[in-house]
Amino acid sequence: MARIAERRLRMYKAIAEAIDQEMERDNTIFVMGEDVGVYGGVFGITRGLYQKYGPEYVRDTPLSEAGVIGAAIGAAAVGMRPIVDLQFVDFIGVCFDQIFNQLAKIHYMSGGNVKLPVVITAAIGGGLSFAAHHSQVLYSIFAHVPGLKVVVPSNSYDAKGLMIQSIRDDNPVIYCIHKRLIGVPGMPCPETAITHVPEEPYTIPLGKASIKKEGEDVTIVAAALMVHRAIEAAEMLSREGIDAEIIDVRTLVPLDKDTIINSVKKTGRLLIVDEDYKSYGMTGEIAAIVAEEAWEYLDAPIRRLAVPDVPIPFSRPLEDYIIPSTEKIYKTVKEMIK
């Protein structure tokens, strides 16, 4: 059997390639944000684009997030498709209104008259001792407000297909990139995040989860870095005869409820693993959906692993303690199955 030549790309290169291929296709697409130009983006996702498209289309901006996201809204309202790099998701604090009251709601408030095809990229996640202002996940906040799609790739292949789909979507999309998956120097990522990426453009629909591993005994639902920790835990569990099914949600909005529910119907057990805060977040939402729609299939109480409700601390042992680990996933599943 002929083996397809592997083209393993790091996630940031896969994303840059996606943006590049879309910009080649459609001249209404442009990128703006802090350090997206010569620097190539703090997380590398615009690398090479400035040299190719120039400063108009790959536009460095001042530190002015409310102004820039507001400008993206205005540009989108008159026919452009802006991509704005917010750098760290934690910076939403200074442009909250533009995202939550403006970007998310204008399509609805206009009775569907105004379309805002804006992609906001934002780096999420901890594990680098960046502390409470540069380590949060926060995607549940976006998911909570109607009108925003929320994308969270866990590997390079998904990152490219989801980015192309996000750019083509006529709705605002918050595209979250985990710092421990992006693959830029200085921020190590698991090997499982660096996958084959076809050179040609392709899309992955928003709202379709990915079953990373099929299993019979327990369903583990996760996103971003937690998918990789779940895979590691599943390997440990399989050595003890426990067969876990792992679902990568890939997009929080729309959420692929069917894949989750069907999995729980098969396994009877559900663990949700999340790097966001525990209360009022993704874990609670998915638990509630399963409780409402698949209660009778559950053989054990639903379990959740997430960041206990504390800000992300700086010191390594403190941070390691609060972010769900492979070990904690393993132990929790063992408790669920004994």
Binding site: G74, M109, N171
Partner: protein
């Protein structure tokens, strides 16, 4: 004068001012329906808040007269006058204020959140939020190689928001075709500008961004016409942004029903004595461009147009309740 004032233009501006005034006073009367004996904001044919702009007509008309449908206007919560001056369909505007299916936004926006992509008009419930939207539209126009411009309206209250300053800076560094219009009606709800703003003229803030800033005193339509015409022409020709501050008058409270405990009763009387409609009428009569009889005809025509729009709104159906679930995503 960059844009010459001709008789037809002057009459058209006066007519639009009359239409705005009639519209606002009609809305005010209808707003009261169903709200007695107990004042209940949610009752009657027009529920919710209504922020009227009577007295501020010159700021809308004197600027928008220079604009085309493809020029972008963003405004804040008090924006009926600007919507009408920008050419938003009066019937669909009225229907939106009534929450009807035939409204601009199918009843989902209401009077503070009007979006008309055909006329490139929008207004916003969050004060200050819409300045950067105009910057973005102007950026898009520049990238698209068009000579369209964007006008961002806000009140003196909005000028203390960070988004105002961010928008000015972005428009200045990128030399974008944006005209920022601050309607200084002296009040941010109950808080007077003299206490809220560190300097007496917002137009002076333009100097911090290296762009022209012009202050227009006393709600002067023809001065606004002149300054805005010049700024818009400069913007179309690639000359970058301008900040215009217009001293204007808010005849009513912040919202209809506002007890206005914070301002002296005679303030409104003094402002009304300087009603811009009377002033423009006198100016046009003096120029020999208008007779009393012609004025009465304009009043009659404006009333008829407003009545027709209000009737359309009253007679239009409400949206089906289930429509609440539509339009979250495109």
């Amino acid at each position: 004068m960059v844009v010459e004032l001709r008789k037809e233009t002057a009459i058209e501006m006066l007519y639009t001012m009359l239409k705005i005034r009639k519209f606002e006073e009609t809305i005010k009367d209808i707003y009261a329906e169903g709200k007695k004996p107990v004042f209940d904001l949610s009752a009657g044919p027009i529920p919710g808040f209504v922020h009227l702009s009577a007295g501020q007509e010159p700021a809308a008309v004197g600027v928008c007269i220079h604009l085309r449908a493809d020029d972008f206007v963003s405004a804040a919560h008090r924006a009926h006058h600007i919507a009408i001056a920008k050419g938003v369909d009066l019937k669909r505007l009225a229907a939106e204020i009534f929450g009807k299916k035939t409204g601009l936004c199918k009843g989902k926006g209401g009077h503070m959140h009007l979006f008309d992509p055909q006329k490139n008009f929008s207004c916003n419930g969050i004060v200050g939020a819409s300045f950067p939207h105009a910057v973005g539209a102007a950026l898009a126009y520049k990238m698209q190689g068009k000579d369209s411009v964007a006008v961002a309206y806000g009140g003196d209250g909005a000028a203390n928001q960070g988004t105002f300053h961010e928008a000015l800076n972005l428009a200045a560094i990128w030399k974008l075709p944006v005209i920022f219009v601050i309607e200084d009606n002296m009040w941010a709800l109950s808080f007077p500008k003299r206490l809220s703003t560190a300097i007496s003229r917002n137009s002076d803030r333009a100097s911090a961004y290296g762009i022209p800033g012009v202050f227009i005193p006393d709600n002067d339509l023809f001065r606004i016409f002149e300054v805005a015409g010049e700024a818009i022409k400069r913007a179309r020709e690639g000359g970058g942004p301008t900040l215009i501050e217009i001293e204007t008058y808010r005849f009513y409270g912040h919202y209809v029903g506002d007890p206005e405990r914070y301002r002296a009763k005679d303030e409104v009387e003094k402002l009304r004595a300087k009603d811009p409609i009377n002033r423009v009428k006198e100016q046009l009569i003096q120029k020999g461009w208008l007779t009393d009889k012609e004025f009465e005809e304009l009043v009659f025509r404006a009333s008829a147009e407003v009545d027709e729009a209000i009737n359309f709104a009253r007679e239009s159906p409400y949206p089906d309740p289930e429509e609440a679930l539509q339009d979250v995503f495109a």
